[in-house]
């Protein structure tokens, strides 16, 4: 709400400037140059790759190779989607990606809420060291520990299992989500916990029943971040997963480029399939992302 009123106030300032006599026309021309033109350029730059891939995904091979490039497929075909889904096994990769991302997200949420509650509600020895540990994990490059982790997982027999990457996603994403959860829980008055406990609720029920329900909107947003993060992850999945039965979508796409003859239509169709879940989630959390960051964690 704040954002809207503030943005409107910006606009009124601009309008006040425009109230000098006979300047209505003068206002439109600069507006086109400093606002609509750049905005259109940005939109074209952002959307062109999506539109080109979308158009390619519906084209037949000769149409794709046609030098008179056109955005309208002629003839229009679903063949690429069909072939990537069944021949290139994207049905399997899609299932794997959904399973791995969902499982990771659920554990990330549970652990982050537990940590967030502990940090928000208790003073305990080692609390500040815990925070330092959480923050330091955010700086460590994956490249640094991927080698030993690969060797450890290998000796445990976890290489080429979904479990290996699920564990990895949980551990790498919990610290950041913990800090977000702490922010949400801080905003809830302690009296609510106390009232519930007077009524006979245990600590466990307070955290995972009552608190979690109150911060549900925040949880939905953060779990979307977590899900997108897991869905998009490439490096670790590529290093730890070796057989195509366990591939996630990013790995499936990577191996499609590596194949001898490049089937651009299927490549584009596979990309579109991989894009759908993160884009849908982004559309949902976009407003929260912009407004929430402003009011919360990274105040300017």
């Amino acid at each position: 709400m704040n954002s809207i009123s503030r943005a409107t106030s910006n606009e009124t300032i601009i309008e006040i400037q425009g109230y000098k006599p006979a300047s209505k026309f003068k206002k439109i021309v600069p507006n086109i140059i400093i606002f609509y033109l750049p905005l259109t350029a940005v939109l074209i730059f952002v959307l062109l790759p999506f539109l080109w891939a979308l158009s390619t995904s519906f084209k037949t091979q000769p149409d794709i190779l046609n030098t008179a490039a056109s955005f309208i497929p002629h003839p229009f075909t679903f063949e690429n989607y069909h072939s990537v889904w069944s021949v290139n096994k994207f049905s399997v990769f899609f299932k794997n990606s959904i399973f791995i991302s969902l499982a990771s997200t659920i554990f990330i949420l549970i652990l982050s809420v537990a940590n967030g509650y502990a940090i928000s509600r208790y003073q305990f020895r080692g609390k500040s060291s815990f925070l330092v540990v959480l923050l330091s994990t955010q700086m460590m490059p994956v490249m640094l520990f991927i080698i030993p982790l690969f060797l450890v997982f290998k000796s445990l027999g976890l290489i080429n299992t979904p479990l290996a990457i699920i564990i990895f996603y949980i551990v790498t994403q919990v610290p950041f989500n913990t800090l977000l959860m702490k922010g949400f829980i801080d905003a809830i008055p302690k009296e609510i916990d106390e009232a519930a406990m007077v009524d006979g609720a245990g600590r466990f029920r307070v955290i995972f029943g009552i608190i979690m329900r109150i911060i549900l909107p925040g949880i939905v947003a953060t779990s979307s971040f977590a899900f997108i993060g897991c869905w998009n992850e490439f490096l670790v999945a590529f290093s730890f997963i070796t057989s195509d039965q366990n591939f996630t979508i990013p790995i499936g796409l990577k191996f499609m480029i590596g194949e001898y003859s490049v089937d651009y239509g299927s490549l584009a169709a596979g990309s579109m399939i991989g894009l759908i879940p993160p884009i849908l989630m982004f559309a949902y959390i976009q407003k929260y992302l912009v407004d929430g960051l402003g009011s919360g964690s990274v105040k300017g």
Partner: protein, 300 residues
């Protein structure tokens, strides 16, 4: 009173129980491997020559600094990569944030569209932009030929002169929304009365930007530039899948070099040493950056 005291004592272990799973998994999955990578960096540990495996002291580090021209080339490429990406993403991200902060019809939809590459993974960026850059089916050659920029088709990703710039543009596409989101959030926290006061004093658009907007954004800019710098320094997905460091190592950054040495060639000892050196360089950069800002070096 007594009852409450007792309860507080009984609660003493609750926070530890809540954070225990996270602490244990971070120690096992992140800290132990980092310890291990330091250990590995003092060893010969290679799948290709297992008979040479063993402790070799500082040999790997000495080799890196005395016998490895590719290390210095990668370091230079990394610096170039981080520099270009952070500066261009900041400039364009700020521009996009200012555009999207204005009130206009359909702002919600335009915001979603412009910011959506934020949710797109490195591998999908590779997919979309490979279809754009492709010599025979790419749209970029078509557009540039129409505009008269080029006469013959260019293989953007295979040409040593164009590959670095092409990869930079593709990463920009994905990185600009990050800055736009962070800065847009910060823009919304600027109180409107500051603008009004400025208005009363008769300052124009340019003055308003340099005397109000920019100072208010300073903290956010410092924070997001640092985050992005670390992130771009470590980033590997897109470069690895788009060019794999080629052609002629024109796009081999340190993480790419390390990934190729260790995971792809199985030379874990040398790869670990590269990882340690890379991490220390990153650490030096971060400390230097924070010092510079604390002492006000970026103020004027």
């Amino acid at each position: 009173m007594n009852g409450k005291l007792f309860k507080v004592n009984g609660d003493r272990f609750v926070p530890y129980a809540l954070i225990a799973p996270t602490i244990i998994s971070i120690l096992l999955i992140m800290f132990f491997p980092v310890f291990k990578v330091f250990q590995l960096s003092f060893q010969n540990y290679s799948f290709a020559q297992p008979y040479n495996n063993g402790f070799v002291g500082l040999k790997n580090f000495v080799d890196i600094f005395t016998k490895d021209p590719l290390f210095f080339k990668s370091l230079l490429t990394t610096v170039k990569w981080v520099g270009w990406e952070v500066v261009l993403q900041l400039v364009f991200g700020l521009m996009v944030a200012l555009l999207l902060n204005r009130e206009f019809k359909g702002r919600g939809l335009v915001r979603s569209l412009v910011l959506v590459p934020w949710a797109v993974s490195g591998i999908l960026t590779t997919m979309l932009w490979s279809l754009m850059f492709n010599q025979s089916i790419g749209i970029i050659n078509v557009i540039f030929k129409h505009l008269g920029f080029i006469k013959t088709d260019i293989a953007w990703l295979a040409n040593t002169h164009t590959v670095f710039g092409s990869v930079v543009v593709a990463e920009l596409w994905r990185g600009i929304p990050f800055f736009a989101i962070m800065l847009l959030a910060a823009l919304q926290t600027i109180p409107k009365d500051v603008y009004e006061a400025c208005e009363v004093d008769g300052c124009g658009n340019v003055k308003r930007f340099f005397y109000i907007t920019l100072p208010f954004l300073k903290e956010s800019i410092i924070f997001s530039t640092l985050l992005r710098g670390i992130w771009e320094f470590n980033s590997i997905d897109m470069i690895f899948t788009m060019t794999n460091g080629g052609p002629m190592n024109m796009t081999t950054t340190l993480p790419i070099y390390m990934f190729q040495t260790s995971i792809l060639q199985g030379n874990y000892g040398y790869g670990s040493a590269l990882g340690v050196v890379t991490f220390i360089l990153l650490l030096i950069f971060v400390i230097f950056y924070l010092r510079l800002n604390r002492s006000g070096g970026l103020n004027k």
